[in-house]
């Protein structure tokens, strides 16, 4: 009988800690929580929108991690597995709420009809040093604009441009094709760019 080859195990920065937890040192689970609670909470704020939902999502995610950590086979990085759980909890929560309509964003909406609509010089918000542009008020506005994105675009943008996952990892976390990640990301970025343009020209 042909043997099914075992998938390659991925060793990452969390492997040692996870092995220790799985071998009985349950108290170390809190180290895992401390390491990821802020990141997950911020992910939840941007994807779920409401503070309470983000808090519930973090708790539910860690609860699932605790329950299923022994089954984690290290076939992906632990962080990617963690976000896979978190994204799925967020999506379930969003489906129960009426917060954002599930609509498509069309690329055509952003294509300038004629070239005269595009300025001939770089606006100051794109040319000044980043630290001179990015203040608390702008961050608040970016967060608001992200929440206006339909969920399937928003979650891709947050994973790619805020959490720093690459296309392949984002596709694995969301269980979609890498080509879908690219399409959604480009549209989400164009949407956000328009919101920023409006904000700076107001």
């Amino acid at each position: 009988m042909q043997k099914i080859p075992e998938r390659k195990k991925i060793i990452d920065e969390d492997t040692e800690l996870i092995n220790a937890i799985n071998s009985g040192q349950k108290s170390l689970f809190y180290d895992l929580v401390k390491k990821y609670e802020q990141k997950l909470y911020n992910f939840g704020l941007k994807v779920c929108g409401e503070t309470r939902d983000a808090e519930d999502m973090v708790q539910e995610t860690f609860l699932n991690v605790y329950r299923y950590l022994a089954d984690f086979r290290s076939e992906s990085k632990f962080k990617n597995w963690l976000y896979r759980i978190a994204a799925s909890v967020c999506i379930k929560k969003r489906r129960k709420s009426k917060f954002a309509p599930q609509k498509e964003i069309s690329l055509e909406d952003f294509i300038p009809e004629n070239k005269d609509n595009i300025p001939d010089s770089l606006p100051s918000w794109a040319s000044k040093p980043l630290e001179k542009v990015l203040n608390d008020e702008l961050s608040k506005n970016i967060r608001k604009a992200i929440l206006l994105l339909p969920e399937k675009y928003r979650v891709v943008l947050v994973l790619r441009d805020i959490e720093g996952f690459d296309t392949e990892e984002t596709a694995q976390i969301l269980n979609i094709k890498p080509s879908s990640v690219k399409v959604r990301l480009h549209r989400a970025r164009l949407f956000l760019k328009e919101k920023l343009k409006d904000y700076f020209s107001a």
């Binding site: 929580v33 909470y41 860690f62 609860l63 329950r67 952003f110 294509i111 004629n114 542009v133 920023l196």
Partner: protein, 84 residues
């Protein structure tokens, strides 16, 4: 546009690929073609740089702190076995 007979269709095809350009996810030939066009076309450069800045702003936003009540909930969940 710097040149008089500028091809707006080319600008549109570039516009559709700007994220791939920023992320380095294009093949070498497409990347080079875009690079040549963008050097010559201020409007495409504006589109590219404003999009690039949008991405940079997202990447550099500060994280918000975890509320104390969430920390308490998590501690309670971990240290009280009946919660798990």
């Amino acid at each position: 546009m710097k040149e008089k007979n500028h091809d707006h269709k080319k600008c549109i095809s570039i516009f559709k690929r700007l994220s791939g350009y920023i992320d380095g996810e294009l093949d070498e030939k497409t990347y080079e073609e875009m690079q040549i066009h963008i050097k010559e076309c201020i409007k495409c450069e504006v589109c590219l740089e404003t999009l690039r800045r949008t991405v940079d702003l997202c990447r550099n936003m500060k994280m918000q702190g975890v509320p104390d009540r969430l920390r308490e909930r998590l501690k309670l969940m971990i240290y009280d076995p009946s919660n798990l």
